[in-house]
Amino acid sequence: MGCDFYRKQLTAYLDQELNAPQKERMAQHLQSCQACRNQYDELQNTVNLLANAEKPALAPQFQAGWRSRIRQENLQAQKGFLVTWQSFFKQPPLFSIAGSLGIIVICFCMAFLVNRKIADDSLKTSHPQSLSQLSIKESPEAVYQLEIVKTGKQTQKVQQLLREFRQTHEEGAVLALRYEKAKLGIISGLKGAEAQALKEKLEALGAQVAVKIVAKKRN
């Protein structure tokens, strides 16, 4: 057998997927052939590199987001807003604890995001609207995130607007974080014009909206 034959089997050999005679032949060949041995070492380095790859940290908006969207979908199915929150807390103790923990996690995420925003731009807290409007017009090509800081008095209309927006916005400009009880929400992945339009609609309903750039054009 030539080297080509063995090269094709290196991957299966490394994964212990060869049968006993194949394995034996491969081992013998590797002992006598430096070139194939080098190839094997390289392959093993590659596989080790991938196998030991560090894991990405979970984004808080993912952890809070999917739970929130499941609840929302469940709510829509049941056609009642408070019902599910109540039933959620009426679950046996284990669920209540899990639920409460979930809420603590979500609150923590919110606090984290809010803190970061303040750190990013301390002025934003005093004049959020004028400043954020400025930033949208300055770089319409960037990718934006809107955060509903306060829904104002027309909470249900704001929520309705967000639901409709999410349904009509195909690209999955997804409500990344939403916590019904605190009436806070984040919509991410918007183009400048989209962000501006949605922001204006939200503000027309009396909501207070903060804007953040999540990606911008490289220079």
Binding site: T11, D15, L50, E54, A57, A59, W66, A142
Partner: protein, 196 residues
């Protein structure tokens, strides 16, 4: 609670049971979506979509494969659909934005203190994104997620022979791309194992 019971509850539209069941898999799902897209923004968006899809489709799970394998299939397929969709249609997604010269600002919150670790993490991700979807998928499933040939053949709905040959080509492609990176020998230093 036992997984089988939780699955039954989910199939009976129990959203609380769903959160409990999928809470055990959210890290796995996030890792998977992250590897496909290479940034936290898309990983979070697509990961959420994936969980919604699982929620809507869980009644289809029939126990022929393990629940984990079934999840890998649903989530991988969603990621691949999303990648194809983005390729076909120029849209406002971040992937697009990145291709046209945008850089994500959010994300990269990985708490890696060690510079070498962080560089290795980024290098692996960069190279994964250079591969074809087919090769990227199989390396993610086998070498990062650690599935065996049999599980992969179930996830990808193909036979073991295909898994073997595709994996072989994918690793070779990854290796070649890795070799062109000047820093790669430093990053894998200490991992070289000579001899049999």
């Amino acid at each position: 609670m036992e997984e089988q019971i939780l699955i039954k509850k989910c199939q009976a539209d129990d959203a609380v049971a769903f959160e409990e069941l999928l809470g055990n898999y959210e890290t796995m799902i996030y890792n998977l979506t992250y590897r496909f897209f290479g940034n936290h923004h898309d990983a979070s968006d697509v990961g959420q979509e994936a969980l919604l899809r699982v929620y809507r489709k869980i009644k289809d799970f029939n126990g022929k494969s393990s629940f984990k394998t079934w999840l890998y299939r649903v989530v991988s397929n969603l990621c691949l659909d999303e990648i194809r969709k983005r390729k076909k249609r120029k849209d406002s997604s971040l992937e697009e934005a990145k291709e046209s010269g945008y850089e994500p600002l959010a994300g990269d919150v990985t708490p890696m203190e060690n510079v070498l670790q962080k560089e290795r993490f980024q290098l692996i991700q960069e190279i994964l994104l250079l591969l074809t979807e087919e090769h990227r998928t199989i390396l993610i499933l086998k070498d990062i997620e650690g599935l065996d040939y049999n599980e992969i053949s179930q996830v990808l709905n193909c036979n073991i022979g295909t898994v073997k040959s595709r994996l072989s080509r994918a690793r070779e492609s990854f290796r070649q791309k890795l070799a062109t990176r000047p820093k790669y020998s430093v990053l894998i230093e200490g991992r070289v194992q000579h001899g049999m």
